[in-house]
């Protein structure tokens, strides 16, 4: 069965800290992995990773995929209170209409 597992499930840090969120997967026909940020409402897209070892970066956020070890990490440097959210990792199932299999999410709380 296709599975996506995130850790930790929750994390509390202080502003300025650096955090690393983990996502491991067991999926047949793997093609890509996506990261989303969910605040109060809809998940918003952060990154899509398809190639192993190539870092995607956007400001203080970066992510990398390891297709050999079947995991991805999301790094956030110099965290701010606005980074507080649930971070979701998802893998699309290529031969099943692109449906996303989500992990449980990591709830990040950044304290001032």
């Amino acid at each position: 069965e296709d599975k996506v597992v995130q850790s930790p499930l929750s994390l509390v840090v202080h502003e300025g800290d650096t955090v690393t969120l983990n996502c491991s997967y067991e999926v047949t026909n793997f093609r890509s992995l996506l990261w989303y940020k969910q605040e109060k409402k809809a998940p918003t897209f952060l990154f899509m990773l398809t190639s192993s070892g190539i870092e995607k970066k956007s400001g203080r956020l970066s992510s990398i995929l390891d297709k050999k070890e079947l995991f991805s990490i999301l790094n956030i440097t110099a965290t701010q209170t606005g980074d507080s959210a649930v971070y979701l990792c998802a893998v699309p199932i290529y031969n099943q209409g692109g449906k996303l299999i989500f992990g449980q999410g990591t709830e990040l709380s950044v304290k001032p």
Partner: protein, 114 residues
């Protein structure tokens, strides 16, 4: 301009009632989805439509019936609502073809069944 919109945003109703949630996307995408997010924030696929054709039905009870009048709209009708149906329902859309599976989500409909 809202890319994926849903109505209503909140829905409070009693057990046994029938209700509908509507979704519209103006992105020109061919594929639309319904996801359910439970109280533990776990997001799970329910249905997917591609160009008005049902392509995913994830062992959802028959009380849930999606309908796609055209590729920009995907509605969800729920019969005989139960307490366990309380959740946030998200609509999403994505382009088909290629290797792009980025999905754009609507704001969600919080359904509370009392």
């Amino acid at each position: 301009d809202t890319a994926v919109s849903q109505t209503p945003k909140y829905l409070v109703t009693q057990m046994g009632n029938d209700k509908s949630i509507k979704c519209e996307q103006n992105l020109g995408h061919d594929t639309m989805y319904w996801y359910k997010q439970d109280s533990k924030k776990f997001l799970k696929i329910m249905f997917s439509y591609n160009n008005k054709e049902l392509i995913i039905n994830e062992t959802v009870p028959n009380r849930f019936s999606p309908k796609s009048p055209d590729k920009a709209h995907l509605n969800l009708h729920i019969n005989s609502l139960e307490l366990g149906d309380s959740a946030v329902y998200f609509c999403a859309s994505s382009p088909t073809g290629g290797h792009s599976y980025e999905q754009y989500f609507g704001p969600g409909t919080r359904l509370t069944v009392t």
